[in-house]
Structures are given as structure tokens and as C-alpha cells.
Symmetry: C3
Subunit: 131 residues, 3 copies
């Protein structure tokens, strides 16, 4: 199966980075298929959501910081348990269909890498199933 | 790969609509395989959960409205940021196994389209991998 | 497609059980492929997260119990609506790549079955796509 990885360098503690253009390139020769994108980190995630208005990214990250308690009596000594929780609720992979060399995304959808404990250098893995 | 789409017309701001019967039909001739269902919207989602008691749907939608803050200082001018958050935490696709023409769901599981910013006319895409 | 199931016996109301060793065994003869793991229950889930420090599991389960309201005016008469919510936000399946007979997990990642309404006897289904 065609596969690959990409490196994502993040600059903030919480950050969404649009991977769509890169992932579009890796499927450009596939007529019919499926793209799976996998996040190998336990304090980062992948989210498909609106890319047109950057305020949506601000709102997603900010509200996640409200939803996940910052002061639960956490035990994990690294102090980044809220980031582990953000990973747990957003998930470790996304699946997107491919048709005629294009990712089949909705009109407003973009694929984002989500940094929850940055800044760091991160990796994302992808694999395609060709129909 | 076999693929298709269906239209879902929603009637409320928050609503769960059972897609299982329709999706069962599209896999009825597949002996062994996988169904991927994809939601192309950024203010809607897909959830697999209990279908027997409609109160579960009431509780899921109601509690999501408590979990996602309604009054975070959101910036997105369309005013539907909580819906974008609900999409982020529930995810954009579901994967179900197929065996002998049947979706392999648990005893109480049904596949729901989740409207988080309705009423609207929505679309869902599906694709099957035949084993 | 190669497929199978495993039984998980849980001992607590909230519990994370590491399935990685078992799932590693089922992919050991696959050179290139994808593993899908499916949870057929509506009050349990699957999470990929850190396995090195058990405190992370404690923190994930404990914080989920804070995130999901315990006293929302729930209607579902079985009284386990918070467990249905935990399932809705963590999701019903995980996808992991396989390469040279190994699950391609990140350095700290493990695959966990998450009991949200135990103790019970549970089942997990898996299926592999061989490349």
C-alpha cells in the first residue's frame, strides 16, 4: 500500500496546522480510494473542521481548554494530562475518501494536525487504499 | 470501490437521525468487507450508539450542550462555534464491518447522523471495501 | 479478510485495559496492511493513548468523569447515560497501520479497551486489510 509520513513543527502550546495541501498531493494519482491519516502522538490529534475562518480554530482550541479540566487532581507527573485528554476526545486517525485524484472533502472542510502540548517536532503517517 | 451518498433533511437544531436501515441496504450484497461512512459537514457528526431507547439520544444531545460551553468568548462570527466543537469531539467518520450481507453492529448499536446546527439539508457519503 | 474477536472481562465501573499485546499477535504475519478494531458496545470505547505511566489512565478516566455531567437531567432509565456519553466522545473504532508484522504505534502509544459501565464481560472485533 502507498504510504508516507510528514513532519510537523509546531510553535505554540495549542495549535492547529492545516495538512490538506500536503495530503492532497499524495493522493493526486489515485483515481478511487481511501486515505487514512494516523497521529502517533499521545498529546496531539487530528481534526477535520472548517478552514475558511481562522476564528474557528481559535474557538476549537480555546473551548477544548475549557471542556478539559485544568485542575482535576491529576497524577501524571509530566503535568500534561489535559493534552492526553484532548487526544482521547479528538481521536488518533481520520479517514477521507479519494476520487479522481482529489480528496473528497466537504466545502468547508480541512484536515488539521492539532498540537496540544507544544511546541514540538511531530510526525504524521498516512496510508492509501487504492480501489 | 462501491460508493454512494444519501441526503438527510434535519428538522431541529440538535437531532440524531438513524441511518442504519439505509446503510444496511447498501451492504446487502457484500459477503465480507468494511463500510466507511463520512460526514462532509463541519457542524454535524456521526455517532454509533444505542437506538432502542430514544431517551439515550435525548441525553447525548442534551449533555453535549452542557459539555460544550455556550458562552466561551467565541470569535467565529456565524455564532455556531459550539456546533463546530461538537463535530470535533464526535469525529467525521465511522467504520463498520460487513459479514454475509449484514452490518456487524452490537446488539444495541445504531448508526446516527448528528445534526448540531440545523435544521438543514445534509449529505452523507459512504464507501465499501469488499474483502 | 482476516478477522477475529476477543473477550475482555472488566472489573471496575471505569477501567482501561491494554489490548496491544493481543492485537500485535494477530498482525504478526502481515507484511503491509491496516488493522481496524471495533467496539460493539454502547457504554464502552477504544482509546489509543500513553501506556507507560498508569497515572495517565487514571487521569483520562477521572477527567472524563468530570467532563461528562453526572447530574444532567438524564431521562434514560438505566441510569448509565454518562457512559453512553463517554462512548460518543471517544468513538467506536480505531485504525492502526501494520508494517512487517508489527503494529505501527507511536513510541508511547498503546491500544486500550475502555470500560465505562462495568464490571462486565465485553467483546472486541478486529479485521485486517492486507496490502
Amino acid at each position: 500500500m502507498p504510504r508516507g509520513e510528514l513532519t510537523v513543527v509546531t510553535n505554540k502550546q495549542l495549535e492547529m496546522i492545516d495538512l490538506t495541501d500536503h495530503l492532497q498531493q499524495v493522493v493526486s494519482s489515485i483515481d478511487d480510494g481511501i486515505l487514512h491519516v494516523y497521529n502517533p502522538h499521545t498529546t496531539a490529534g487530528l481534526i477535520i473542521n472548517e478552514g475558511a475562518d481562522p476564528d474557528v480554530q481559535h474557538d476549537i482550541l480555546g473551548a477544548l481548554g475549557r471542556i478539559i479540566p485544568g485542575n482535576y487532581p491529576y497524577r501524571h507527573s509530566e503535568g500534561n494530562s489535559p493534552a492526553h485528554l484532548m487526544t482521547a476526545v479528538t481521536g488518533s486517525s481520520v479517514t477521507v475518501f479519494i476520487f479522481r485524484g482529489r480528496l473528497r472533502l466537504g466545502a468547508w472542510q480541512r484536515i488539521f494536525f492539532c498540537e496540544f502540548d507544544g511546541p514540538r517536532s511531530r510526525h504524521i503517517w498516512w496510508k492509501t487504499i487504492v480501489g
